[in-house]
């Protein structure tokens, strides 16, 4: 369970989050929508622990732990996964090696045995088949030379393999064609269950046709100005953000 209370955060002295309060119960999927510059990506980074973002006020607890006191890697092995809007390239680092190292870090934290290269390949190939990913994806270097769509698929593969308890999707749908969009939705939906929560950050309602959220929130100037059910997303699509912001 994620509990964000009165969160204020700055970057380079600039106030981005301005008293954000949000609670996500286990098993729930929430969507955050909002115009450019409203603080959506910052929220993802603050929750994942990126350096450079300073929390000036408020608190975040995750399964009873003070999330803000944890390092990024501690959050990751505790089950927090951030799907990047712009996945980072790691030249020379094999995708399989990277993913296996990450998987074993998570498995160690969960008290599970580590997987060797053979076991890993078996697990990964099974997942990739579901995601409709080419086998050679594992042999390539992490995100190097990947198309935009391939990068997002790779993020979804990582998410599926690491099976987090809290997924943060930062505009994973941006720039995707309809097939890729469905793949993202299928991956998220396959993970849904009583022990999986998600925060889906998006500009557009179209992803939410495939991933039906329990709650939808509108973020503006660093705080939530409206909340509602899935129908709120459809309303926003019809009227635009400006109407909500003005109200």
């Amino acid at each position: 369970m994620l509990k964000i209370e009165n969160l204020h955060a700055t970057i380079d002295g600039k106030q981005i989050l301005n008293g954000l309060t949000l609670t996500i119960a286990p098993g729930e999927l929430h969507a955050i929508m909002g115009p450019n510059g409203s603080g959506k990506s910052t929220l993802g980074y603050v929750l994942a622990g990126r350096e450079g973002y300073e929390v000036t006020e408020g608190s975040v607890t995750y399964n009873g732990h003070d999330l803000l006191a944890m390092t990024p890697e501690e959050r990751a092995v505790a089950g927090v996964f951030l799907a990047f809007q712009a996945p980072v390239e790691l030249p020379g680092v094999g995708n399989a090696n990277f993913l296996r190292t990450a998987l074993n870090a998570v498995r160690r934290a969960r008290g599970e045995t580590e997987v060797d290269a053979m076991q890993f390949l078996k697990l990964a190939r099974a997942r990739m088949k579901v995601l409709n990913m080419a086998d050679d994806m594992l042999k390539r270097n992490v995100n190097v030379g990947f198309s935009g769509g391939e990068k997002k698929r790779n993020e979804m593969l990582q998410m599926a393999m690491l099976s987090p308890s809290l997924a943060l999707l930062d505009e994973t749908d941006s720039g995707l064609d309809i097939d890729a969009l469905k793949m993202v939705a299928d991956t998220v939906n396959s993970l849904r269950g009583p022990n999986f929560s998600a925060l889906v950050i998006t500009h557009y309602q179209r992803l939410l046709n495939h991933i039906v959220p329990d709650r939808v929130h509108v973020l503006s100037a660093g705080r939530i100005i409206r909340s509602g059910g899935p129908e709120l997303a459809e309303e926003l699509e019809a009227t635009g953000y400006a109407a909500s912001v003005a109200a």
Binding site: G49, E51, E73, A76, V88, L90, G92, V106
Partner: protein, 496 residues
């Protein structure tokens, strides 16, 4: 005869005869006193029961060395070396009395590499630690695979079956004098440079390899195999000859940082490849770099050169340099035979106060000769890392080709990376390409790795290994895995 010449000759005659053993010692002594003189050179040669030609060869080198100046062109700085304040033959032991006196950072590294306590003591140079082999292990062996005397012996028998000679160079002087005499100094002449001249005068031991015509060496040759590999000392001399059509891969060094009281190491390595022969020479160098301030680290001033004399011959140098306070080395290739090939793959790390000035020289002399240079420099802390390279193409090297790639990776903002490539092309039909990049480990790369559960140090290790991958994949399997671990360990604590 002018009076002054006569005087000089008289003095010379007296010096040569009457002062043969000018110091108070004799051949039965275990070690020579401190300092360097002709007497010391004679002492070393006599100790090794060397033939007269080799003593003359050493003396010629020594006399030439006296006329030379310490080179100052490399981008490294250190206090002047007092060559009289060193032992040149079997220095008396003066290491730490126990592991308690050893730099704790060094012990931590040993622990991370999983080296047993007994071997830690040997590596750290603790007095008496190497005198009795532990549980049947070879005194200095580090690699678990090759650490028993019986294994080494059976390898030696296997090699002898193919007519391969693999022994200490002092042994080869006795058993294969004709080969040593023909090739010693034929690639790196005595007067080549200051440290090569010094090495030629006082070299103590090293490896000798001869692969006969048409023989493909059935295994990787490693210094670990060689029995009595212990204490080859600070002036190592290695000579490898691959006869026509012969193929050999040679591994040098070890991943564990070895501590040594001798601060100056000046080795010479000579490789000779005849027609269609191929030599692959791989090095993992991890000498003690000194403490965080650089105190007590090794100065590694090495001359390595290969002569591709034969047609279609090939020499490939691969090096992973993580240790030493100062590294000064340029493994080079003389591409003499038509269609011969030279390669140089290098990873050099400088952390804390380490300095490295390293690179290669490719001399294209024969027609259609080809060379490839891939250099990866990684600087962290206050480390200074310089790539210095020369590609020289002679008028006769028609259609010669060179490709050079120099990449530098910076970690932190106190370190430095420098690239000094020289290209001299005297042939119109030659093609020379040079690419260079400088980058930092980006914050977003680190965060991406950490957000997937990797620790800061794992993330740095992974990014650096990715950066160096093109070089690491050239290493033989035995070394590649260890080298990857080593890169990560060498940079621990350099970020954050």
């Amino acid at each position: 005869m002018p009076a002054i010449t006569e005087t000089l000759e008289t003095v010379q005659a007296v010096t040569d005869s009457g002062y043969k053993w000018g110091f108070e010692t004799n051949i039965e002594m275990e070690f020579a006193p401190k300092g360097l003189s002709e007497d010391i050179v004679r002492f070393i040669s006599a100790k090794k029961k060397e033939p007269a030609w080799l003593l003359d060869w050493r003396l010629k080198a020594y006399r030439h060395w006296l006329t030379m100046e310490v080179p100052h062109w490399a981008a490294v700085s250190h206090p002047p070396i007092d060559f009289q304040d060193a032992y040149y033959y079997a220095a008396p032991k003066q290491g730490p009395k126990s592991l308690d006196e050893v730099d704790p950072e060094l012990l931590k590294t040993y622990a991370k590499l999983g080296i047993p306590l007994k071997e830690q003591a040997i590596l750290a140079g603790v007095e008496g630690a190497g005198d009795t082999p532990a549980e049947g292990r070879m005194p200095i062996a580090v690699d678990a695979v090759f650490d028993s005397v019986s294994v080494a012996t059976s390898y030696k028998e296997r090699l002898a079956k193919d007519g391969i000679v693999f022994c200490a160079i002092s042994e080869a002087v006795q058993t294969h004098p004709e080969l040593v005499r023909e090739y010693l100094g034929s690639v790196v002449p005595q007067g080549d440079n200051y440290y090569a001249a010094l090495n030629s005068a006082v070299f103590t031991d090293g490896s000798f390899v001869y692969i006969p015509k048409g023989v493909r060496c059935p295994m990787e040759l490693s210094t670990y195999f060689r029995i009595n590999a212990k204490s080859t000392g600070q002036f190592e001399r290695t000579l490898i000859i691959a006869d026509e059509g012969a193929i050999v891969s040679y591994l040098e060094g070890c991943t564990a940082p070895m501590r040594d009281e001798n601060q100056l190491h000046a080795a010479v390595v000579e490789l000779v490849a005849l027609d269609d022969a191929s030599i692959k020479y791989s090095t993992v160098q991890n000498w003690y770099p000194g403490d965080a301030e650089g105190r007590g680290g090794i100065y590694n001033f090495v001359t390595k050169r290969a002569a591709c004399r034969g047609k279609r011959s090939k020499v490939s140098w691969t090096q992973v340099e993580t240790g030493s306070a100062i590294t000064w080395k340029y493994p080079s290739c003389l591409l003499i035979g038509d269609d011969s090939v030279g390669e140089f793959y290098s990873v050099a790390i400088t952390n804390n106060r380490q300095q490295a000035d390293t690179g290669t020289k490719m001399f294209h002399i024969g027609a259609r000769t080809r060379s490839t240079i891939v250099s990866k420099g990684i600087s962290a802390g206050y480390g200074q890392n310089t790539y210095r390279g020369l590609v020289k193409i002679s008028p006769k090297a028609t259609d010669a080709r060179n490709f050079t790639q120099c990449d530098s990776l910076l970690i932190g903002d106190k370190c430095g990376a420098h690239t000094v490539p020289y290209i001299e092309n005297r042939c119109m039909s030659a093609k020379v390409e040079h690419e260079a990049t400088t980058s930092r480990i980006a914050e977003d790369q680190l965060f991406y790795c950490r957000s997937r559960g990797l620790t800061q140090e794992e993330a740095v290790g992974m990014i650096v290994n990715g950066f160096a991958r093109e070089v690491l994949k050239e290493l033989p399997m035995e070394f590649a895995v260890e080298a990857q671990k080593l890169l990560a360990i060498s940079l621990e604590g350099s970020v954050g």
